[in-house]
Symmetry: D4
Subunit: 208 residues, 8 copies
């Protein structure tokens, strides 16, 4: 597409046979196609194509190609807060890789345990772009953003209960982050965060 | 009252003359009366009683008595996040003092500048109870609570704009805090936080 | 942890095998581990460890250790309003016990039947801390708080239908309680209430 | 009108001169006209008609006639919770009188001070219909309704701040009241409560 | 109870065996017990008591006794708007009967077909109290209330989709009804409407 | 413009001098320009152009031209519910006229007084398109739509208080209208309703 | 009916046997009956009538008659944005046909791919009325409306996740469309959009 | 600060004298200080420092320094949709300049007038980063994002009325944008958008 991002489909809710048809088509043309939020029924329907496809069960992603990172791209660090935020963090990390970015995963770094966070500061400085996935209070991007020279992308997750309202609580936290310049995504939208990081990385490879 | 907390009135919206009458009454009986959210009109109406009253303009509080801290009470540390959160923090701190607690103020400790926070850890360990007032993302109580052995009381403030929705954003953050056991108050309710801290301190002075 | 509260996990949504691994680990180290909101699948996965574990089906809690109450702790009274609020009240009460507090349960004390409440006033005065779990109108903590010298912790429950909005109605009632100083928790967060009560009790055992 | 309730206008927002014209018209026809929420500008515009009109400043009501209570009507008890709820309670009480009901006012009976409430139980039993006006937590109608054989009408008020959301908190409390059969009105709608009480009283005077 | 209304339980969510125990108890004492929102599992558990119990499947209600209407009670007319509102209307009508009121059902009278409504005006005038159950736009109580000398009780239902938000749309319509004095209930709360109507009818039988 | 609707500006919030400049420009080019929601400051700034401009104070509209109705257009009937809905109804009616539609105003036809409505049925049948402006419960479009062969456009107004939430209550009522096919506009958007009616009328003048 | 639209029922939630009875009745009378949102259970219950009925599985609609387009009606163009919006678009298109309008389907024209849209402009100009079904951001009607001389009807769909809140996001987008005169329907209400388009088309066939 | 962004204060709500003190301090140290949302009172208080300060009235910004764009930075294109969105767009553009980015302003490019937009495509391709400020329907970022290879930052504005809910409508549109990777900011937060763009530009100048 004009936007430079390969075709991607949100598979959930779609007819498994129709999804399989699109994949057959892209395989034949030898082009990248990414499907996020694949259900078991869809994975079953893709069964025969599977040997040729790349399937990432934790991320719930299927793709036609698994490319190498592009040259001179900055590392995208993907941070998750709680154990249950890993699903969104995996969707983010795998999409980053499929869009040809080097990725560094730092999972389970809760606000409530900042000591571990402190010990990772070095690794943190090596990243070019930081994506933080967090549910419940959504406070982690504020803490990261207060220390980061890098662009920070915040992904609220639907992890939580009661007054988290399916991700509204961390979404509002992130929109009101006292770390200015935090880029906010829709709830559970790890895919979008990866696209934005990729566009930042592509910009870094263009001459102004 | 049966609850052991002196009478308090929320002055805003009340008739200044009526408020002055109540104060005259309590002065005469030599009892503690606290008025929060006093407006200029009310302060004017209290003018003649003023030499005998205690007026705290930053906290918008007037009281008949300014007592010494009660014996063997723990220090209540009152922390505020942003510059504009000071108003609520002052309401909190002054009420704590009027209810006979020793108070330690630590203002302007934003999540976005945790380095300063780190340098205060010592002072922090000396407190018995911690109250955190924060608007915008309301993330500070999660950070404090992740490090604190003390009970933490969180007061969301209406500081912010747009999607902070008059304090709803920090309120939800605090209710969903990943630091378990955070006590949450109504938006801007510094008074309530001070009452709760006082009840905790009174408990500490009773024999189980 | 630095906060003095033993490790606890919210089990719901987690992989049963992974939860079982963590439990095996804590059993081996002979340390306290608490899992709340355990599902049937998780209880099944914990089956072989079960003889060594403590399982509280009404509270949906599993723990590695069942300790005695710590010395000189105040009794935590756990009050529930309606019959369906018992689940949250049991999560609260069992967590209080696991965190070493003496507990007194007073269940089914609805606002609509205050006569029963009146007859319990004596028992009520013996408590050091009061936790009230209520859904629907969430009015009970206001009534209790109006009579209590003790700190009151209010837990809104998702019990109700229609305009209770999954617990929002009692949550707002409690945040706006006309009994000042009520500590409010997230909807159905009995665990958090128990942690806060424990921190209050620990404070009572420290010297100011 | 077909409904048996005299004409009433909500004056706020209307042109003072236009309101004055309607009043002149009703005075001439010697019929009852009630205007609620009259502003100072409207009271000024009604100035010349004033000697003939009945003006209730606390209730913000003007009427052409002040009738005697109708025969064999039950007393309507109007209860208010906090000091600031009096405005709505006065709108309620005055409208009840203008619609020919005997009225008993019991103001400032907060949930937080139920002892006073207990001492009024006798007077309470003499009422035929009970209207409760309450802001903040809106818990009072639940308490009253748990004890009352009479129909209870609940009027949430916009008194409060923060998470009271202009009266939403007490409105939800009342809709979810655990005292079944509570009739709920719009926020600050004392007028509507009085109309409903009047229709109940009229029913009591009809033969089934 | 002090309120004169027989004991009633909301059965949904409760343990079937526990519900059966309570019923056995009330049958033995020969007292009225009403269970609303009974599920199939509960009906099964009540199976052995069933010959003695009264079961109303459309209303999802079980009761120990089916009394005659009390003397000199006014007829309660129960109106429903759309076909799917019948469930709530039946809960309302059956509860009215169990609480000893004569009942007249007028179902499927939509605002969109007022002609039918016009032909029922006579029957309508014979009623003493009117209850209107409506989902979607919830407009019917406004139309009925504009014509009715009787007290009108409005029950919003969760019937609808999209922006009806599970009954919020008709709830707001009813709270803002331009027919003053409309008594509003919680969403789907037919039981509460019947209790209120009963209290009105009992009042009509007392001497002022 | 491509859409066939003359240029229109929403004047509120704009710099009066800038608005005057645009008007001078359109006058010079002898083209239609419509400004809605003009404030007093803007009317003052337009003062010198005023003799040439058309000013409709009740509608808060200024225009460069006041055209005759176009040939073979259907009459647009503009109905308003309450007295305070007239402002929006006037914005609607005047815009309809400026966009060259014949207009019939039927104001103050509340749901609560349908008898008057019944007497206007004849006039009603002569209209080609019906626009209904209503606040509070917003029930009138459902009633009109249940009787109308014509397209019905519903405009919720911000008239009301409390749980009308600035027009949200009538907006939801209209979106959930049980009269299918009701076209809904934004709150207070009389201008949009007039544009839609004009497009319908223009369609009627084209050959299919 | 007086409104000129044939009887239609929303089948979802209704008893399959009851729905079958109504269909038998309409078949016998040889009249049009439309059922939307038919479930599998209802389709099964209609099995025996099926040879005579018209069933549109993608639209989830069953009807007794499939009429020809009425004479001199304008074509209704039904546009859908994303792949998942097709369900609502099919309900819209089939209802349009059943109500005797010529229909042109233009599906999968996302805002994010406006180039395809541009190539359809010719076809677009031939339509008399445009209906746009869109979920997620709901931006397509604004784009279409900015180019269209025709009336535009916007149907928000519940397609999306997270902060789309079941269709609230596109609903608000459409209500605030900067293309004035956009007619907005309830979420997923393709049926209503078709009724409105039909009324517009009928108007075009009447003489003013 | 560690984050590489110069100190900035949100001036609104702060004491003018205090703001002036901070400015004097930064002038003395010859460091950059940016104040956004300066009120008239604050501008007055800064009066004496003004000759040395840079004041941007349309952007409501004051700064101590006006630097040249940094070398090899990409141009940030700032697009606004409607006339009233200019204020936020100016805050964005001026902050971008103060943070040393070359800026290209493209204002008043509404979705409803995409023809103008098409003619700017060339200029558009020269930009490195695109920021879109839009109120009402907030649809413009979706359209821009569908065509852009660049990172797109979306700023919802509070421009609009009724169901725009102070910027909630465009905020939700942007969070749900069907153009993947759109970075969303808080309502009216032009400052944050500029910080994010600056961090992207800084990244482009670092070696991966
Ligand atoms: N700033 C405050 N926020 C919340 N509650 C307060 C505040 N100040 C006083 N109160 C409480 O508000 C109640 C006073 O209500 P009233 O009787 O209407 O004056 C008392 O219960 C006080 O303890
Ligand atoms: N009262 C109104 N409500 C909604 N839209 C309006 C109103 N008056 C003018 N408009 C539209 O608002 C837009 C004006 O936006 P602007 O270019 O910012 O002046 C134009 O598309 C008008 O058609
Ligand atoms: N999909 C639909 N969405 C909205 N309304 C519908 C739909 N299908 C049928 N209706 C309308 O819903 C009403 C049917 O209600 P009922 O009488 O309860 O079956 C009729 O007014 C129909 O015109
Ligand atoms: N217009 C603005 N919107 C959002 N944040 C801002 C704005 N202007 C300054 N800030 C940030 O707000 C914070 C200032 O908070 P304070 O310390 O209370 O002055 C700093 O983090 C700034 O970077
Ligand atoms: Mg696609
Ligand atoms: Mg008081
Ligand atoms: Mg943990
Ligand atoms: Mg009137
Ligand atoms: Mg009970
Ligand atoms: Mg314009
Ligand atoms: Mg029907
Ligand atoms: Mg600062």
């Amino acid at each position: 597409a004009r936007t430079g991002i390969p075709e991607a489909i949100l598979a959930e809710g779609k007819d498994p046979a129709a999804v399989a048809d699109i994949f057959a088509n892209y395989l034949e043309r030898d082009e990248q196609l990414i499907a996020t939020r694949v259900t078991d029924a869809i994975v079953d329907a893709l069964g025969e194509l599977m040997p040729e496809l790349h399937y990432f069960p934790d991320a719930r992603i299927v793709a036609t190609q698994m490319p190498e990172p592009a040259e001179s791209r900055h590392t995208v660090m993907v941070i998750s807060a709680g154990a249950l935020d890993r699903r969104v963090a995996e969707e983010t990390a795998v999409t980053c890789q499929l869009l040809r970015n080097p990725v560094d995963r730092v999972f389970d770094v809760g606000v409530a345990g900042l000591t571990r966070f402190a010990t990772e500061l070095d690794r943190f400085d090596k990243a070019g772009i930081i994506i933080v996935c967090a549910g419940m209070d959504g406070a982690l991007p504020s803490v990261v953003g207060g220390l980061a020279v890098q662009p920070v992308i915040a992904v609220p997750t639907s992890v939580g209960y009661g007054a988290s309202f399916g991700g509204v609580a961390p979404l509002l936290t992130m929109l009101n982050s006292c770390s200015p310049g935090t880029a906010v995504m829709n709830i559970d939208n790890g895919f979008g965060a990866a696209v934005l990081a990729t566009k930042m990385n592509q910009l870094a490879c263009r001459t102004a």
